[in-house]
Amino acid sequence: MRPRYDEMHDAAGAPRAHYRLFADWLEQTPEAVLQGKRREADVAFHRVGITFTVYGEDSGNERLIPFDMVPRIVPAAEWRMLESGLRQRVHALNLFLQDVYGERRILREGRIPAELVLGNSAYRSEMQGLRVPGGVYSHISGIDLVRAGDGEYYVLEDNLRVPSGVSYMLENRRMMARLIPELFARQQIAPVERYPDTLLRTLREAAPEGIDTPTVAVLTPGAFNSAYFEHAFLAQQMGVELVEGADLFVRDDTVYARTTRGPRRVHVIYRRINDDYLDPQVFRPESVLGVPGLFGAYRAGRVTLANAPGTGVADDKSVYPYVPEMIRFYLSEEPILHNVPTYQLRDPDALRYTLEHLHELVVKEVHGAGGYGMLVGPAASKAEIEDFRARILATPENYIAQPTLSLSTCPTFVESGLAPRHIDLRPYILSGRRIQVVPGGLTRVALREGSLVVNSSQGGGTKDTWVLEA
């Protein structure tokens, strides 16, 4: 039996110091009041319309992501460590991208196998040799952390393409402040509310050179996208236009928005659509979500895309094992945050080991996301394991395997009352002239007992994340 770490209670079952205030409040608040607050949260989330769309069900199916009232609380000292670790990691990842699309030093020196990077489907040859403003590729990064049974944090994966979820971080905080204002008054919880401001500043700093007052827009695939609520929310909070591909057009390598007063130039696009769909002239020709000529304007330095196309080559699961190496190579520092030990199944020894231990490992598709295409060995049936074995054998290079971490738990309201459920944490890191880490993040919780899959598309819920300032 692997040791388990509970965020709220120590091994003896007593509340940890940083949870004491909350635990007292929880104990002193009558059951009926707690239920009332949970109902209030539900009604408010419905009314505000914070929903997401589930793929694979009826199209346009809007659902609430379940919100849980017990926060994840991170003590100040722990956060300081996480913050430096995140800053270091994102810094190195951006330097890696700059290098890959530039001189390729790290490949030439053999620190990372070149074919792993250049043969990767997320590598964009169109980006080769292009200089991006400030050398920043991933302006907005989400790094998924878990705490294992040993009490240590591990980076589960990096998200450098279009990381989502930050609107839930902000809405969850708003909800908690509304439900239990007294707890915010009694302890120092680091505010997250400035995120939209910081994001806007980061985006403006990314503008093409020589543009003093850039026009920023958020590019969304449209109202039927699962994260549409977030796109709209962020545009609204930043006070910028929310555009769809059809609202933009390109003339002479310049991007314009179609407005009621004629065409208006756009300088920075926070794009929430994938590389593939950005520009049908360069990427997928059948895409109707993008803007013909957009990439040309980008190459000409007339518009900035955030994040840059091609960032996926740095957050790919097959490149993930090399991130500690990147930190040593570019920063001459030791990584502050641990990676989860990872077997690359392209390696015959790793493949053999994995096939013999499928029942105890987590196997992930290299390009999978959202909890799709993943095997959790200890929780899988014999049939599921055999099915996965066949898939791995067909294309081993498409898979990695990791030991099943016993994710830490946090008490969570479920049918039967409060019960421990597994959680992870996605902090958000903004890279402009400086790298800024929002003190908090999105805590996701696997609502099914024993489940380790926290993705909202797989029935996960969310919690507020409190970073204590003292």
Binding site: R47, V48, A223, Y228, F233, Q236, L242, Y256, T259, P263
Partner: protein
């Protein structure tokens, strides 16, 4: 503002106004259907419902589909039917969808209000209509519409977004001033001496005033009796009624002048010309020339103005400024 945003906001307002006016139309038909049959000059009691469908230009389609016209069926069609794109159900759905696409351009209170309305309307079915009664349901729909109007006025910054919502409100409301008048006036009250008004006519024209919540306004203007001339004047030419064609035309002209920034724009001239038609008209002349004929011409002007708004603000020419 994006062309798409302008268009979506315009349609949010049109659909909300359409939902409210459809509720008023049902109310009117219901009142007229209560008139004892002997006053209806031999027509079946379904006649008011037929006229309601006629006012929307959908009687033939309805008959083809349902075979016959009866009150309960028409109410379901106008209120609940998800298949009728003009039903109150569909209007709320469309308004909420457009608002959802434009959450950035409106206040969160506005979206929450629309979302609340939709969650309520979505659950409305024939059984609940039976339970609560038609009048109570119509009241609720008008209150939902009023609530959105109030939240909009009270929370949305005065800018282009507000102006496009205004355009949507007044284009749609003007349209309904004409349609609702047509329901009662299509048998033409022109030339009838006031003393010749029989009880049935009084009943119909005051039903129209009540459905428009305009009875008090009408009385306050000092009309001694409810006459076709008086009611038609109130609905077409009066500046005192918030729902008259004149009030709508004037608002459209004002908003378009502000929005266009220049009186030289085609669409602004169009709106000015439309306003002049009601500002300087006399009700006697309108009735003498035939009410129905005048209403048709007014509807054509309105349609052209709607097209003009769309062309000017919601279509992109992609001609880059030099």
């Amino acid at each position: 503002m994006l062309c798409r945003t302008a268009s979506d906001l315009y349609w949010v307002a049109r659909h909300m106004e359409r939902a409210e006016n459809t509720a008023r139309l049902i109310d009117l038909a219901q009142r007229m259907a209560m008139l004892p049959e002997r006053f209806e000059r031999g027509k079946a009691s379904a006649a008011p419902w037929r006229r309601a469908l006629d006012a929307l230009g959908s009687a033939d389609g309805y008959l083809a589909r349902h075979g016959r016209i009866d009150g309960a069926g028409v109410v379901r069609h106008l209120l609940l039917s998800p298949d009728n794109p003009a039903s109150i159900h569909s209007c709320f759905r469309a308004a909420r969808e457009s608002a959802r696409a434009q959450r950035v351009a409106i206040t969160s209170e506005m979206y929450e209000d629309l979302n609340t309305s939709w969650l309520e309307i979505r659950l409305l079915d024939a059984a609940q209509l039976d339970r609560d009664g038609l009048n109570q349901v119509l009241e609720r729909i008008k209150i939902r519409s009023a609530s959105f109007r109030g939240v909009t006025i009270g929370t949305l910054g005065r800018g282009e977004g507000y102006q496009f919502l205004q355009l949507g409100v007044f284009i749609e409301r003007a349209d309904w001033a004409i349609r609702l008048l047509d329901v009662v006036g299509s048998h033409d009250g022109a030339g009838e001496a006031e003393e010749a008004l029989d009880a049935a006519e009084y009943f119909r024209w005051s039903a129209l005033l009540q459905s428009l919540s305009a009875f008090e306004t009408y009385r306050r203007l000092g009309h001694p009796a409810v006459t076709p001339t008086g009611v038609a004047e109130l609905m077409l030419l009066s500046e005192a009624s918030p729902r008259s064609l004149q009030t709508c035309a004037q608002s459209l002209h004002t908003v378009l002048r502000d929005l266009g920034g220049s009186a030289r724009l085609d669409v602004v001239r169009q709106a000015g010309a439309a306003e002049a038609q009601t500002r300087y008209a006399r009700i006697e002349d309108i009735l003498a020339g035939g009410l129905e004929h005048w209403l048709q011409a007014a509807m054509a002007r309105l349609t052209a103005l709607g097209d003009g708004i769309h062309r000017q603000f919601m279509t992109s020419t992609d001609v880059v400024p030099a």
